[in-house]
Structures are given as C-alpha cells and as structure tokens.
Symmetry: C2
Subunit: 284 residues, 2 copies
C-alpha cells in the first residue's frame, strides 16, 4: 500500500535529501524513523518529488513510500492513519516536520506524477544583511539588485527549452524542461525569486538565480541571459548561488484521474523507463 | 557624543543581553566589536531598551553608547557615520544585525526615553509543530489554543496595575506598569500574541503568556486571570513560557522635544535615581 508524505525541513543540518553512507540526510532520517515506528528491520524506500541538495530547505516536499498492507493493524487495535502520522512525527528530529501522512490515491508517484514544482530563492541586498532569525534561509547579497530587471530577464527564459546551460550534465538524460515562472519581487528587505517548472535538472534553480543576479547587479542584460540559454553549455559568468537561499515551496499534482497518465508521460519524456524508478536520478 | 544603535538578533546563541563573565551575550559581542572598530582598550558601555533574557530574540532592540567626540576622525579622513556603521556591522557575528547607527538626539536615553516596548510571543499549536525554518523562534504547543478566549482574557489586564503576580520580585523596585496591548491572533498556523507596555519587569511577558495559555487551553477563565493579577503574588499555575518564543519587535520613543522629559519621568517613576543609570536593573 502506497502512502503520501508531506514534509518540511530546515536543510541546514542535512547533506541534502538522498541517503548517503555515513551522512545525515533527510531521506535517511525518515527511513530510520519509519523503521522505528514500524519495528521493521528493513527500512522502507522513499521516493520524493524534488531531491534537494545539501543545505536546500523545503516547506512543500512530497514523498511516497510503499508499506505492507497490515501496517496499521501492527500498530495496535483500531489504529488509523492519524495514529501512524503522530508516531512518525514524534520519531522525527525537530528539523523535519511531517505535515501529513495519508494513503496515496491509485497511480500516485511523488516524483513522476508531479505536474510542477515551485521553488523560492531568497536574497537580502540590504547593507546590514538579513533578519538574523531568517539568516538560515536568506542569503546576504552585498550588491544592490535591480528587481524589475531580474523579472524582465526571467521572462525571456520561459517556455520549453533545453536548459543544459543551467544544469549539471548527466549522461543519457534530457535537460529539456518547461519553465512556467521566473519572477522576482521585493518582500520587505528580501528579494524573493519564484521559479516554477514541470521539473528541474540538478542545480538548475541556483544557476538560473546566478544568471538573474548578474542582470540584477547590472553586469549583464536580459539579452545576454537569453544567449546563455541558447548556447546550451555552462558558462563561468553564471554562478550557482548558495544552497541555503533555496526552499522547495510546493509540488502540484493532477487530480486523481490524471495521476497515472502523468506519471507515464513524465517517465517517457525524461527518457527513463520503469527500471530506473527505484533509483531516481537527482533532479536538483 | 551619544550614538543610537538599532539591533536585531537571534537569541538562540546568547545568554541574553547583559554582559556576564565567561558567557556569550549580545552586549559583550557588541562591546567587543566596538572596541575592535575603535581600537580602544576600554570597551564602551552600552545601555539598551529591553534587557532580553537568555534565548529571547530581538528585531527592534535599541541601545545607546557614548563615544569620544573625535571617533569619526580616528577612523580616517572624511569618515562619516555610515562608515562607522559599516565597520561595526562587519565586526559583528551573523546572529546580530546592526540595522542603524547614528548620533542620538539631545536627551536620548535608550532605556529611559522609551515610551513603550512591543514584544510578540509565537506559539504553534498544530499537531505537526512549527515550520522547521521558524522553529528557533516559534514554540510548539501540544494543546489546541482558543485564541479569542486568550484575547478576551488579555483585555482584563490592560491599564496601569501592579504586575507583581507576573514578575520576578526585586527589592526596592516597583512592579507597577501600564499594559497597553495584550492580544492574540492566528497568523497561518502560528498564534502570535502581541504585548505592549510602557516597560516590563523581568520575565513579565513570558508569565503573562503562561496565564493566557492556561485560558487558551480551557483550564481557567478570564476571571481567574484577573484574580491572579489582583493577588499580586506569583502563582504556580502561571507558567513562565519558554524564552525562544519571545521577540522584542519594537521600542517607541517620543519626538526629539519629548526625549529628556520622558527620561526623567521614567527614572522618577521606577524609583531609580541617576546613580543607578550606569547599572540598570534587568527589565525582563
């Protein structure tokens, strides 16, 4: 039986999402907590919508896990999904929050059923730096940023393109993605850049931000950024911005009827067959 | 020459504001940074508006410091207040932010000229707990809170009263204060309680919150809380809530003409003469 998990985490203390031997990761903490709650020797395997890098945060991460059919009965008589959620919640460290745990609808796949992901990158260009209470997820940028210029430049990248210029190259995988939003706005003394796409390649959001910041500082113009995209190769002028400014805010799924259709579309489109599902490639 | 400092800090890493031998405090870090920037052997003494306890945060702390008249010339030719601010800012750790540093108007005293202080206490009563990115300044409360009941109870405490029931007793000092606002509101999944008074006794905000939470949980009613106030002594049912939920948000001063008048009023009213100014008593 497949379960959907809604998760938030402070990425500061994690080597990203994906389990790695000897390192503290979100996936490893979740698997450990799940195996404790279920008293199982073998940790259940998780699949998430956005494999966040070291230091990247999440408020709207979604994952799925397949658990044995009798999992609720094993917790005790009359136990329900809420009870499982409460127990798992208590077993988690305080830098991970379980916002929800419920049976997934038919055809649901946290990674491949997703229609789009929304990330927000936060920079503070005030000379004094960000509010100290927000400094773990807001990066201090020491040069003033022209926010309307950033938004104008972002507009030129919207649509379906090969984003190879903003991705870490990965053999045999496409870097064609559909960018749905890339816009910056000042919220108090923070420049928030919203980035929405059907999916992302690794380090893509932070490289896009590096491009926007070059424009925001006045070092380059919007045309230059479009040129970078069209060049389809990484350029040294495009910095990959620090991880801690980035938060995965939301993952959007189709309604129940569309879940399985979307999942098979995504698998086909990204050139990845079913066998790869158990070891999904990093998306960020 | 007197300077005004506007400060924010994440209280997590500090043993409060006040300098104490061998402990990391906000005051000690500021004095260290100031003496570094001014290359002075003797650290200048600071006075602040709200002497926050261990773990309490600030977004709107105000302090003053008296520096030698030639301080800007000593920084180099044509140096100005902005340059001093930038240097001090760079000398500070990243959990303290210097929002402003400027010459104080005549009669300004960060502590005694203040008309009122505004604190906000943040609780999250959602079962899953607070957003992990906010967990350093939002306390997880495991019982659901009736927010309108809290606000109604808070109304009964407004005005000028002896708040001895909510203060740590201190010999020879009055605990009469004027409470101007005490109201709770739900902001997303956080219960924010705003507390405004002319000044506060030590642990007063957190004890007021303990009283409101007892009402919010339905353990007591508004009348009980008024009774506690009138009893004028600490009661075991009134918990002093954890420090990390508390943030000093704002300190309000009169316009320039009113500064000195207000300072002498405050000193008289709190039964403290001029000699005590150099060692102000903890207010929270």
């Amino acid at each position: 039986m497949r379960w959907r998990l809604d998760l938030s985490y402070d990425g500061t203390g994690f080597h990203g999402w994906a389990a790695q031997p000897g390192l503290r990761t979100v996936e490893a903490e979740l698997e450990l907590a799940l195996s404790r709650v279920l008293r199982s020797v073998e940790a259940p395997r998780l699949t998430c919508a956005g494999r966040t890098d070291t230091g990247v945060h999440a408020r709207g991460q979604v994952a799925h896990v397949d658990l044995p059919a009798g999992v609720l009965d094993a917790l005790g008589p009359d136990s329900d999904a809420d009870q499982l959620a409460r127990r798992l919640s208590r077993a988690l460290p305080d830098d991970i929050r379980l916002g929800g745990l419920r049976p997934a609808p038919d055809g649901f796949d946290a990674r491949f059923s997703a229609l789009r992901r929304r990330y927000v990158y936060r920079l503070c260009d005030a000379p004094a730096g960000p509010d100290p209470l927000a400094r773990r997820h807001v990066v201090h940028h020491r040069r003033a940023l022209d926010v309307p210029a950033m938004t104008a430049a972002g507009r030129g990248l919207l649509g379906e393109h090969d984003f190879a210029a903003f991705c870490r190259k990965r053999e045999g995988a496409t870097s064609v993605r559909t960018l749905l939003e890339l816009s910056s706005a000042r919220v108090a003394d923070v420049v928030e850049t919203t980035v929405v796409a059907d999916a992302f390649c690794r380090s893509m959001v932070r490289a896009l931000l590096g491009g926007l910041v070059a424009v925001g500082e006045g070092r380059h113009d919007a045309q230059w950024l479009t040129g970078v995209l069209e060049g389809r190769r990484r350029q040294p002028q495009v910095t990959v911005m620090p991880a801690r400014g980035l938060t995965l805010e939301e993952v959007v799924y189709p309604d129940t009827a569309g879940l399985a259709v979307r999942a098979s579309q995504s698998r086909r489109r990204r050139g990845e067959g079913l066998p790869e599902m158990s070891t999904p490639a990093p998306e960020r």
